[in-house]
């Protein structure tokens, strides 16, 4: 998988952009619970008052506040406000929203700097709380004792009705500061959050005194927060659509590049690489494996990258709400992960077993279909039914087990999530009671917990997803990392002109890669142009291998093959194959028409040349029997043409090439004897100048060859004509006798 990373390079910027967008999306998604929490805390609980910095404050209250502020704080507060009285320019405007300005001058908050407001917030909160405390004392002297105990300053000795604020104002600054500091200590013990909440109540009271409309204030707050939420939602959807776009382009682009690279690579492979990978496997690697990678890339970009961003973001925000409750999230994640680990460790081996059982079921059924005649001939239907039933039962049992475990997983997961909510509410209530957090925060915490748990869930899926993808990726990389064993020489030579087509094997040995023994050993012969050289021998004697060395499907491992005196490894593969008309053992046609198949050998061939080749290959009758003639459609792999016709068409194709060298690799096997004979007859006339090499099992096919090479276990055991070999070569006689009777051979 890692070896494929370089193919991601052109898409690097898209991937980076995706990650950025995912950050945006995660932040937007995570912001929503936060806004909700604000609606609950500020909007509902605090009546729309966000913080302890009032937008409007009576001048008298402001004077009182000053008593509890340090000189430095005083100047900062005063800088943020401006006084509005009857003579001020904006008096009329202020009067509209603040009817109380008619009674006394007010200070209006003029700074819009949110940092400054946030900095003033705790300062004002404490001062406001102190002021409201003093006001309470004044209203209810019984509270004075409590207050006094708290400040170490016996207020009860004061004369009743005295204005405490005046009194405090008259105290020497040092003493006032001492009282103030002691109050601060008390507030700190209460906790920031509690001070804050209490102070907002004071602000709310101030607004009421000023005759402001508290209800509309609240509504406005909720609506403006809602608007923000809408905006965040839009940001989220836009960025996730953009992520979708980028990931689709990246994944499709990557798979296009990979597919092309693999295909081009494989087209350059020699038979050695095909043997190593197997054709079926190469097909899978070029198609399914790449599709698999494409899916994974999309999943990665859309979900797998997202999960950790979401998870970490969720954790940060949750802890921000209440850091002491982190362990609840840890418990939830741990419970879920252990559930997943347990479920998968139980089912994974069964999954593997199930795959085998499915294969087994398919196998038995396939055997039942392919062996239908034999099964019925031996009356073995009941036996086969039993065999199938066994496979069926095994598969059913295993599938049932897996399904039942899987069925347990989802409800259990739900239970864990629900349990988590309950736990958060229980612990959260205690925290709220202790004024460590607000109710809205608790609600947000719950939602963060769910988001975190989900992101861990997604990440754990990644571990299931990735191994599979990495298998596919590995298989693709393996192909891309394989260099074809057969390559053109660095400085290729050309065949001498005029080209004659003499093929000479000089001490040729060949061994398949990884094999222990040579399949061909010390082969020597020369095939002359204008002559037929035939190769005969039993299965495994190496006769097919010999002719496959000539077009360099494999390279010799010892000795050399010369054509017109030039080692075939010194010319380019293109030039070499240009000289050869090859008819494979397994006839292969390509989809298209008969004509397009024949033209595969030579794009510029005339129609006459095509028909002449068809005539020689004894396939004219077949072509004419189709209404469309040469334009007859050929299905993929020539599936709509019988074996015999396929073979003839494949011969015709090679003949179109008018090559100086022809190789027939057991290419007459699907022909009946009559056609075989007629074809050889016609060939003789039409390839008179060429060197013809024929591999066959049929003695009747080789009897007329100028030269017969008899092979046994990779060695030449006789070269000569039919009559010579009948006399001198025992293996040849053996083969001939098994096929024909003495009188016919004589």
């Amino acid at each position: 998988m890692i070896r494929l990373v370089r193919y991601l390079k052109p898409y690097l910027s898209m991937i980076l952009l995706t990650i950025v967008l995912l950050f945006v999306q995660a932040n937007a998604d995570l912001a929503l619970p936060d806004y909700l929490s604000r609606i609950v805390n500020n909007g509902i609980q605090q009546g729309g008052v966000e913080n302890a910095v009032p937008t409007v404050i009576r001048a008298s209250t402001m004077d009182h506040l000053q008593l509890f502020l340090t000189p430095d704080e005083q100047s900062r507060v005063m800088a943020a406000y401006t006084l509005v009285d009857a003579g001020a320019a904006n008096y009329a405007e202020t009067l509209k929203t603040v009817p109380g300005v008619a009674n006394e001058p007010v200070y209006v908050l003029t700074t819009t700097n949110t940092d400054e407001i946030a900095a003033l917030d705790p300062v004002m909160a404490r001062a406001l709380l102190a002021v409201s405390g003093v006001e309470q004392v004044m209203a209810d002297p019984t509270k004075a004792a409590q207050m006094g105990a708290a400040t170490g300053f016996d207020l009860s000795r004061l004369p009743a009705g005295a204005d405490l604020f005046t009194l405090l104002g008259n105290l020497p600054p040092a003493q006032r500061e001492q009282i103030s500091a002691q109050l601060q200590g008390q507030f700190a013990a209460l906790g920031e959050s509690a001070v804050q909440q209490a102070a907002t109540q004071a602000v709310k009271a101030e607004y009421t005194t000023l005759g402001m409309n508290a209800a509309s204030l609240q509504t406005n707050y909720i609506l403006s927060t809602g608007l923000l939420m809408l905006l965040v939602t839009l940001v989220s959807v836009v960025s996730s659509i953009a992520v979708g776009y980028l990931s689709a382009r990246t994944a499709a682009g990557l798979s296009r590049d990979l597919r092309r690279a693999v295909f081009q690579k494989v087209e350059g492979f020699s038979s050695t690489e095909f043997d190593r990978f197997s054709t079926a496997s190469l097909i899978t690697r070029t198609t399914n494996d790449i599709t698999q990678v494409q899916m994974v890339v999309i999943m990665m970009m859309r979900m797998v990258f997202y999960a950790p961003i979401m998870g970490v973001g969720g954790i940060i925000r949750a802890i921000d709400k209440d850091s002491s409750m982190w362990w609840i999230i840890a418990v939830g994640v741990a419970a879920l992960l252990s559930l997943i680990v347990v479920v998968f460790s139980v089912t994974l081996p069964k999954f593997k077993a199930m795959q085998n059982l499915i294969d087994r079921l398919n196998l038995v059924l396939r055997e039942n279909l392919s062996g239908m005649m034999v099964i019925r001939a031996f009356n073995m239907q009941p036996f086969e039914e039993q065999r199938f039933d066994k496979a069926n039962q095994d598969l059913t049992g295993t599938t049932l087990f897996i399904n039942r475990v899987m069925v347990a997983m989802f409800p259990t997961m739900m239970l864990i999530m629900n349990g988590l909510s309950l736990l958060i509410i229980w612990i959260g209530s205690q925290q709220v009671a202790a004024a460590q957090m607000q109710v809205g925060d608790m609600m947000a915490f719950m939602q963060y917990a769910m988001q975190i748990v989900f992101s861990f869930l997604m990440m754990s899926f990644m571990f299931i997803l990735l191994p599979r993808a990495s298998v596919s990726g590995g298989r693709i990389a393996e192909v891309l990392g394989t260099e074809p064993t057969i390559r053109d020489a660095e400085t290729p030579r050309n065949f001498p002109e005029p080209f004659k087509g003499t093929v000479e094997f000089r001490n040729v040995s060949f061994r398949y890669p990884g094999a222990d023994e040579d399949v061909l050993c010390n082969i020597n012969f020369t095939a002359q142009p204008g002559q037929t050289t035939a190769f005969i021998g039993s299965t495994g004697s190496g006769k097919s291998t010999i002719v496959n060395l000539i077009p360099r499907f494999y390279d010799v491992t010892g000795g050399q093959i010369l054509i017109d005196g030039v080692d075939i490894r010194q010319v380019t593969q293109h030039e070499l194959r240009d000289k050869i008309g090859y008819i494979p053992q397994k006839s292969t046609l390509f989809s298209g028409t008969i004509e397009s198949n024949l033209r595969y050998a030579d794009d510029d061939a005339t129609k006459e040349a095509l028909l002449a080749a068809a005539g020689t290959a004894q396939v004219t009758e077949f072509i004419d029997s189709n209404a469309d003639g040469l334009a007859t459609e050929i299905a993929q792999g020539g599936a709509n043409v019988s074996g015999g016709q396929k073979q003839r068409l494949s011969i015709a194709r090679a003949l179109v090439k008018q090559a100086p060298i022809y190789i027939f690799d057991d290419s007459f096997s699907a022909l009946d004897f009559k056609t075989d004979a007629a074809l050889r007859h016609a060939l003789k006339e039409n390839t008179a100048e060429s060197a013809v090499l024929i591999v066959t099992q049929r003695v009747s096919t080789v009897m007329n060859a100028e030269q017969i090479v008899v092979l046994d276990e990779g060695q030449v055991v006789g070269i000569g004509t039919h009559s010579e070999l009948m006399k001198t070569c025992e293996p040849y006689r053996e083969i001939a006798l098994s096929q024909l009777s003495m009188e016919e051979l004589s």
């Binding site: 979708g244 196998l363 299965t539 293109h574 004979a677």
Partner: protein, 634 residues
């Protein structure tokens, strides 16, 4: 939510090497992408569903329990947020009281009680949900098992002719993919319909009990989104089919080029091939990303809708709460309801698609199970005893397709112990005779008689007991060598098996194999050679000890020495039995008592070697063509 491996039956594919051939390919797609792919449709949806229900009837009580449990478990889950909301409200009121100094603080007993109630409720919901799944997977396993068994048994009752016109892959796909689709619907979709339905209704009810205004607000977006989703589906459909089409082109081209690699190389076709590939690949790329992108819109859109609902609830809920029309806990509950609402709606929207696919799959399965079967054996068929093995063909007329007879009027007699050679060019229909003798097909008119008895008056079982068959297609199965030989006569003793093996020259090579007679033939039976396979099928026939033999001589890919062995074994086997030989070897043909010459499916000549040569017909031509004049002269 997507669960990996949630559909265990589909987990194959992917990394396994599956080049061509049916099996467990990617089936129905799950997740949001699944909505995009329109499945195939059943021709008769109603009828198929009725049949399916009929097939499920034995499990009606299980279904009743499943539905009930699924519903109860869903209801419990739905109650959760509302009850939990009460706890939050209590908490909120307590806090408000604390702050304003009027209340008596937080009522932990109340909250605690609610949490305990919820714990019990959730535990019960889990239990019910699990029991429901347990029963359902049991039912679906049983149904799947039965369908597969029925199909496998059905195959044995169908006439061979059916399979001439049907790809094996198609039948396999019935058993695997189609049955799987049905089972998956049973396993997941059915209870999903219940839970989704109950969830939608239940959540709606709960939302309405909290606030009709908020319900309205949060539901308002759904119709819009459905329209939008439909748009996306329609648009992406085009690209999806284009993508499928070009994927098909690419796969076809790759298969063809890799399959014909040698030819491509030999004709210097690399460049042409890559150019063609690039053309497909470029189109595939553009349709692939477009369809991916469009189908990928589904998720953001769904979550956008969900988020819109969230915002609506937050704002409206906040506003209502300030007027004390609802409580804070209600907001919390409502948010959970909104979040739980979109998923089941999406599932319900997809259900018709799922049911259509299921019906299409079920229709194919039922269609297969309803195919015509072989003509039943005659009632009161008599058994043949002491069969001599005289075979008569009387004015036989036969065609694979009734309108087109391939054998027109064939009459011949094979006396007991005689050898009948069937000759003719490839594709002349030599195996037709074999198929008629074994009653894989019935003659259209005329009759085939064994010892004077029309073979149609015997049971197929008795008839086939008379015959032994050694075909060119050496079918062996994935069992041990011992089991494969014993296939000829399952009640044979080990000693009899060894004797048959010796007679067929199998014994010697078996001893050279690892595990000897206990060696298991692999799936392609490629761990023994073609010739050895042929010998094993001969041993199998020897063990069966039939009165009449059917042999196919073709031994094209067998080495010389094995061929000699096969010939010897066959000769041994034929002694004293009436034999029909699809002959390739001249010696066999010349020694035959009767030669049937076939051409284009019909029997054109019959007689012995000499008389046929004298007649100077097709046989003589065929015979002489093998040896060209100059060869004969050499």
């Amino acid at each position: 939510m997507m669960m990996p491996g949630g559909n265990p039956n589909r987990s194959g594919g992917g990394s396994r090497e599956q080049a061509g051939g049916p099996g467990f390919g990617p089936g129905r797609h799950g997740g949001p992408m699944g909505m995009m792919i329109k499945g195939d449709k059943a021709r008769d949806f109603r009828g198929t569903m009725q049949k399916l229900l009929q097939a499920l009837k034995p499990y009606q009580w299980s279904f009743a329990v499943v539905f009930l449990f699924a519903a109860v478990s869903t209801v419990f889950n739905i109650l959760g947020p509302k009850i939990l909301g009460k706890a939050t409200t209590k908490l909120f009121e307590g806090v408000m009281g604390q702050i304003s100094g009027t209340g008596e603080g937080i009522d932990f007993t109340y909250i605690g009680n609610i949490l305990i109630t919820m714990t019990i409720l959730y535990l019960l919901a889990t239990l019910f949900s699990y029991v429901q799944g347990w029963i359902m997977s049991g039912v679906s396993a049983k149904v799947t098992y039965r369908f597969r068994r029925d199909i496998a048994e059905k195959i044995n009752r169908m006439p061979l002719g059916y399979f001439d016109g049907t790809n094996h892959g198609e039948v396999l796909s019935r058993v695997t993919n189609d049955v799987d689709t049905v089972s998956q619907t049973l396993n997941q979709s059915l209870s999903q319909i219940i839970t989704s339905g109950v969830t939608v209704v239940g959540v709606l009810v709960m939302m309405l009990t909290i606030s009709w205004q908020m319900t309205l607000a949060s539901l308002l977006v759904i119709p819009f989104s459905l329209v939008f989703i439909r748009q996306i589906v329609n648009r992406s459909q085009k690209y999806f089919s284009e993508q499928q089409e070009y994927l098909g082109h690419i796969n076809g081209h790759v298969e063809e080029m890799y399959g014909g690699h040698l030819v491509m190389k030999a004709f210097n076709g690399e460049e042409k091939s890559v150019v063609k590939f690039d053309g497909f690949n470029t189109t595939l790329y553009s349709s692939a990303w477009k369809s991916q992108f469009l189908s990928g819109l589904m998720m953001p859109v769904m979550s956008f809708i969900s988020n819109l609902g969230y915002v609506a609830v937050a704002v409206l809920g906040g506003w209502l709460a300030t007027r004390s029309l609802i409580t804070v806990g209600d907001i919390q509950a409502f948010i959970q309801y909104v979040r739980n609402f979109t998923q089941p709606i999406a599932q319900l929207a997809n259900i018709s698609n799922t049911l259509q696919q299921t019906a299409a799959a079920a229709e194919r399965v039922f269609g297969f199970l309803n195919e015509a079967e072989e003509v039943p054996d005659p009632a009161g068929a008599l058994e043949l005893s002491d069969v001599r093995g005289q075979v008569d063909f009387e004015a036989v007329r036969f065609g694979y397709n009734p309108e087109k007879a391939v054998i027109h009027n064939f009459t011949a007699r094979a006396n007991s112990g005689q050898r009948v050679a069937i000759v003719g060019p490839t594709g002349a229909g030599k195996t037709t005779i074999v198929k008629l003798l074994m009653r894989f097909y019935d003659v259209d008119s005329g009759a085939i008689r064994v010892d004077g008895r029309d073979i149609r008056s015997l049971t197929r079982r008795d008839l086939r007991k008379l015959f032994g068959m050694v075909l060119q297609d050496t079918w062996l199965y994935n069992g041990t060598i011992m089991e494969n030989i014993r296939y000829g006569r399952p009640d044979a003793t080990d000693a009899e098996v060894y004797a048959a093996a010796k007679a067929a020259h199998v014994d010697h090579f078996v001893h050279t194999l690892p595990d000897g007679y206990n060696m298991v033939l692999n799936e392609e039976a490629s761990n023994v050679s073609q010739g050895q396979k042929q010998l094993l099928t001969i041993a199998r026939a020897v063990l069966a000890d039939p009165r009449i033999l059917i042999l196919d001589e073709a031994t094209s890919s067998v080495d010389t020495r094995t061929e000699v062995l096969i010939q010897r074994a066959m000769n041994e086997l034929m002694k004293g039995r009436t034999s029909f030989i699809i002959a390739h070897r001249l010696s066999t043909i010349r020694d035959a008592d009767l030669i049937l010459v076939m051409r284009d499916g019909d029997i054109v000549e019959q007689g012995d070697h000499k008389s046929l040569l004298q007649a100077g017909g097709f046989y003589a031509e065929l015979y002489n063509s093998q040896f060209e004049p100059e060869a004969a002269a050499a």
